[in-house]
Assembly symmetry: D2
Homo-oligomer: 363 residues x 4
């Protein structure tokens, strides 16, 4: 439903990069769910990324809770989270408003909104809108944690550098918690940081792949058709700007595999059914099987680069060149991971509350 995601737990996003405020409304979280303002703030910090490698725009990003929380807990009614925009250098944008920045949404916004869009700093399309998503996600992540469900994401690829995969989930998750640059292998972490730094110097940007695992999800959640776990998660994940690919379990590697290699054998483990491999990423027939839910997201390079690019003026319909000014990130992959965790948490809460009822997270 347009700027709303979810059925049983819904999130409605609002705001523009240079408007009064950005924010979201979360509706359906169980009454009594603890709201940890400190955790929200720490997630907001994580989203900002490593100083040296991230955007020069420095917002305080203080999350104001306007409703739905009373005495530190969710009331069960809609929670509105608001972040005021402070550092909005609006004058930068007016002169180039009819120039389509390549791979940005300027041209498509013009097509959709017919000239009425707020063009300043990407308007409603700005990556800045992920801030309220992260705030909402922080609430969902804490709720999931209260049920033993945890989510973590690392950079599995950046350029030609590949990180190792998850080995021991709990340990790896704890490690990632501490890192600004979420790469499991220390050596690769430095290499990736160096690569991004190099792109920055070159006025260029770089893409990557994020790898996510969710542990503790109960078996039996999801729907066989349309609202499969993969459908619901990908729906949420593909609304994160820059995500252009999502694969579950072995994903595209299935294209090379035989059934005899790909199938995950079941076995009994102390009264629980488990699989020996997890090529299906914890999902069979659209429904969780109790194994870790695993997926990877392809993240494209930040489209804003400090290089002259060919484009059009879509009002005059003329070919032009553009040199984008202002602040931008050489990579967003290290910042995007917290957004991925957030939308994953929100989508999972929606599925769980839909399945178990509105009081699922009630203490």
């Amino acid at each position: 439903m347009k700027n709303t995601f979810g059925n049983s737990l819904s999130v409605t996003l609002f705001g523009e990069s240079h408007g009064e405020a950005i924010g979201c409304v979360i509706d359906g979280i169980s009454p009594g769910t603890e709201i940890d303002k400190g955790f929200i703030a720490s997630q907001m910090e994580k989203r900002k990324g490593v100083n040296a490698l991230s955007t020069a725009r420095r917002e305080r990003d203080e999350v104001k809770i306007l409703s739905g929380v009373f005495e530190g807990r969710a009331t069960g009614t809609p929670i509105c989270l608001m972040i005021e925009n402070a550092d909005t250098k609006s004058k930068d944008y007016s002169k180039s408003k009819d120039l389509a920045r390549p791979s940005h949404a300027d041209y498509t916004a013009e097509c959709k909104y017919g000239g009425f869009q707020d063009y300043r700093g990407g308007g409603h399309f700005s990556g800045r809108l992920t801030a309220p998503l992260v705030a909402a996600g922080a609430i969902a992540l804490k709720a999931l944690e209260s049920k033993g469900i945890k989510i973590a994401t690392h950079i599995s690829r950046c350029g030609d550098i590949e990180d190792r995969e998850f080995v021991a989930y709990e340990e790896d998750f704890a490690l990632l918690e501490k890192l600004d640059m979420p790469v499991l292998c220390e050596k690769k972490r430095e290499e990736i940081s160096a690569l991004i730094e190099e792109c920055k110097k070159d006025g260029d940007s770089i893409g990557g792949v994020l790898s996510t695992a969710v542990i503790g999800v109960p078996a039996g959640v999801g729907e066989p058709w349309f609202d499969t776990v993969e459908s619901m998660l990908s729906h949420a994940l593909f609304s994160v700007p820059a995500v252009k690919g999502v694969e579950f379990g072995s994903g595209f590697a299935f294209g090379k595999m035989k059934g005899s290699e790909a199938n995950d054998s079941f076995y009994c483990d102390a009264g629980t059914v488990r699989t020996k491999t997890n090529n299906n990423g914890g999902i069979n027939g659209g429904i969780t099987n109790g194994m870790p839910v695993t997926f990877r997201c392809a993240v494209k390079p930040t489209p804003s680069i400090y290089k002259k690019q060919e484009t059009v003026n879509f009002k005059d319909m003329t070919d032009e060149t553009i040199l984008i000014e202002g602040r931008h990130d050489p990579a967003i992959i290290h910042r995007a991971r917290v957004v991925i965790d957030s939308v994953t948490a929100l989508a999972l809460c929606d599925l769980l509350i839909g399945h178990f009822g509105t009081d699922y997270f009630k203490p």
Copy 2:
């Protein structure tokens, strides 16, 4: 919404592999939309795939239109499509109902439905349920065609064999129309057929990757957040059984790219804005830009193989081995392409009717 997809055009799927009938209800197609029974039938045929390489279950798959069509055209009210099940060897399944076939949904169905699921032949999870999707998709494809929008899918990978990419869309689309084994390059077509044949002999199966293009989509359709074109399409695509990955444009290859390589430059072409490359797959900021919408789907190997596999009896909670009997496909990739086209068409119709109103396809 569970077994329903879409807002402005919705599809609700019903049926089990060995029940009375399978089918779907399509609600919201513009009144006056032509309903071409011959085309529906030909799509049903295409879904069955190449005889030699496909399942031994031979259903007539005659699509009965129960409602919503009058004098050859959509009335604008819900269309119910029904396919009666005839060839249902139910006795095959009862004895093994508590054995979880690896990578199938038997175990997750048990977790979700608590023993009440129809376990015969995969029940509601059966790939057979794609038949009504294809029938519904045929209506959507014809509606899109009336607006100059066309969709085609080829196998871009099967095992280690890779097909060439689309070059001239119209020509390639026409070629694919005629093929049972949808591979653009003739030589690769034979290789892939041979590979699947070999897997069949070996009692094994093989996965692949499908590559889809949609041409003629107007610019300006989709939403910036949550209901992005990628979100809506992936939501539909991931409900196709066996699809485990979806990437748009350059997708996972973005992970290795720099912004200067990845960005699609705009230019003016006879009064139309176009891009020189199409790494973004025709979508910027979640909204179509008028270029072809392109994506790839990873399809896992058919889980049913003629080899002994390790598994559990989930009622007794014991480790067991299973040798799956009955009919199954050594690959579904060549059959899945028509399902991919169908759900893509349905999702696009939903977006277009949502944007342009209920009479969009009215003659």
Copy 3:
């Protein structure tokens, strides 16, 4: 969502009066819910009404369950119910297709569907479409009964004749169960029957008011805004053709009341909170309070009467007169009660499953 109602339990309706079949798809009923075919059949009979007073169209109305039921119980996947149309005298309708029958939907159908509607016998607008609603409702009613929730409806007014209100719910409900003409007071029952009979003789029709009570609904269900119990029930009730008014508790009588008369005092009754009066019809702030949910529906007289009426030919845009032929009811109020019970049951199941989760009715 157009022809679909409900979020957690949804019903999608399809069919036309003179098409192949009519039916619906119910998605979301808890796995294991007992499906009582005998009860479905008996509800279908009740919907047909008293022979002497009802339509001459005599359909067998055999409900075929196409999916979602296995070994007598709901599987948890979509249930498709289908009723084939047999007795469809289509030739009656073609000649008068551009004449708008007063208070029927012929003209509005033309406006909405632009000439593509199936005009035969009212098409998709036909009261015949309530048959699948009643079949679906029978499943919902039985599910509710398993939780101690019961629904019954009587005629509280027909013309100037008023029935007494509910006194002892259980007894009154048992009485209504047995009646074809659902009037609590025996004398009034005869008077109402006589009035309808008289209208029939006169070629006219008569309206009425239905009064419904639901007992056993747990307290705490519903939402404060938008999805209030009143909103959800009225949404369902106003989709029943001929219903033109819905009031809860004291309803329109509140317009004459003072707060001191209208307020329902609370008291403790053996550990349960109850109210002394029930002017609010069991709902405070959109949420159930544990008291019986009570409401009344205004039902307009059947628009088909055997009298010459003034109208237009909407194709030629000329004033015309019309004398409607064919079979019609002098009143539908006695038949509508089972439809009211049905949609009420479906709406309540939706609210309850949304609140308590998908397994609410699981045995």
Copy 4:
């Protein structure tokens, strides 16, 4: 969907009486729709009602537009409207938090939210939440006006005093525009004011009935089943606190009518189809017929009265008496009319945008 209403145009409501702020998010209004801050402010004033007869709580109710509006027009992206709470005497409420005020939602909130609700001043249930609805409605009303669609509401009954019905819509609408006490007949206006004044002196309250007309709605909007115009409007109307009955056209009076009296004859009027009477309130078969859409809402007396009432302490489960302190209205009927107009406008915009597409109101 819980605290969200609408499909194509949606409104999500948030806030509590004594929280930081109240507000709503409107998503889907056509890009370019004029946003008239002056009109929003004047509607907010109208909602406050006649000074002498309304609540002593005096909020400035300044509506802040946080997003979705740029250079005085809707951008097409979500509009967040926020009203800060200033005058919140929170100390009044803590001591009586477990006492259920009769006919209020205190007890049902406890049942639903299990003690986590914000109990201060009714929390999320407070009539104060209608303020953002009115602000959102002001945007919708102006959008409708740009298409020649107008809405007005008068008090048709208060106690035993009845106002005359609409005669000349345009004139009557203009008159109502100017009135704080929206009664068409001057004499009745004074009588109703006196009656409310009297109730105030007596520490009591009074209910009433509101009568609404919408003119200029195009024919052909609405759905035959479930999303009938009556269903959509009543869904919205019954979420307005205190509304306990909704009837369209002749409504409950149909219960006494014969078909020959009730049917609205069609005739041609200068190329337009019209009806001689309008007993169906402009709606046939759930779809608009081009005549004025008319309905009435029953509004119960304000439950807060200055009289000792019997109730329970739902924590201790003891019978108690309560004497409600603080500020309350002797009637809300004169204030509610602007809320009725607002939700009607929002529901109609949803139907129209769904039918005609997202650019329906684009200039």
